[in-house]
Symmetry: D3
Subunit: 61 residues, 6 copies
Amino acid sequence: MPIINVAILEGRTLEQKRKLVEEVTKVVCDVLGCGEDAVTITIEELAKENLAKGGKLFLDR
Amino acid sequence: MPIINVAILEGRTLEQKRKLVEEVTKVVCDVLGCGEDAVTITIEELAKENLAKGGKLFLDR
Amino acid sequence: MPIINVAILEGRTLEQKRKLVEEVTKVVCDVLGCGEDAVTITIEELAKENLAKGGKLFLDR
Amino acid sequence: MPIINVAILEGRTLEQKRKLVEEVTKVVCDVLGCGEDAVTITIEELAKENLAKGGKLFLDR
Amino acid sequence: MPIINVAILEGRTLEQKRKLVEEVTKVVCDVLGCGEDAVTITIEELAKENLAKGGKLFLDR
Amino acid sequence: MPIINVAILEGRTLEQKRKLVEEVTKVVCDVLGCGEDAVTITIEELAKENLAKGGKLFLDR
C-alpha cells in the first residue's frame, strides 16, 4: 500500500507527469514486491515563490 | 490536538466541504474524547493530472 | 480516492484507532459519495515532545 | 537536512514569504547547528474553504 | 528540487530501502531532467495499526 | 493558523526541540502578524535509513 507524494516546481508537462507516475510505480513495485494497483501517487506542484532553499525562495535564486 | 489532512480530487462543492469538516470533526471527537475546537482540518484538492493509481493518472483512467 | 492523514498524540488504544478509521471512512463516504474501499487513512502518532502549540511542546504544557 | 512545510491561509505577500523563509531558516540553523543550504522550506497556501477548526471552515468563521 | 515522501507498511529490509531510494531517484531524474543530488526522499513507516483501507486497519484485514 | 511540520534526522535533544518550537513560532508570528497560540508545530524525526539525498540513504553517506 505505498502512498507516494512527489513535490515539484510547477511547470512540468502532462507527458512528464504521465511518465513520472508510470515509472515510479514500476520501480516501487519491483523493489517492494507489491502489485501496481496498490500504489497511489500524488503530485504537489509548488510555485517558485512557495519553495525555498538556504533561506531564499526559488523565485529569487 | 488532532490535525487532519483530507486529500481529494478537486470539484467538490462548498456545501460538501462544509459537511465534511463538520462531520469528520464530530466523529473524531466522539472517538478520541477531545473538544471540537482542538480539531484542525486541511483539505488538499488534487487535479486529475496530479493523482495516480496503478501507474496511471486519474485524467487517463 | 480520499487519502486522509490523522495526526494525534500517541497513547490511543487499538480500539480507538479501529473506531476512528471506521467512523471517519463512513462519514467521508456519506458526504462525498464514494465507496468505502476508495478511502485510505494513515494515523501519525506524535510524542508529546514532537507537538507544540503557542511555542510550547505538549510535554511542557 | 531539515525539510519544513508551512501551511498558511492564502493571501500573504511575496515580501512576507521572502521574510518567512529567511527568518525560519536562520533560527532553525541556529538551534540545530546546520548550514543554511541544508534547509528546504515549502509553503502550502490554503483557501479559506480548505481550512477548518472546530468543525467550521475559515470561510464561515 | 523534487521532495518525495514514500509511506509504506513497516517491515521492509534495509536493502529494500537502499534500492528504493536509488531507483526512485534515478527514474525521477530521467523523467524530470534534474540532477540526482536535487532529489530528497523520506520514507515513512506505518505500523499495521496505523494504516487503514475501506474503514479497516491493516492489522485486522 | 499556521501549521508547521519540521522533518529532521532523529537524535536532537529535548532542549533543542524546546528551543526550535519557541523560536520558529516567534519568527513566524513576527512575519505573519498572528498570535503565538495560533501556531501549531509538529516535529517528524527520521531515522538515517529513512532519509535519502542523491539516491543514497543518510545511513550510507
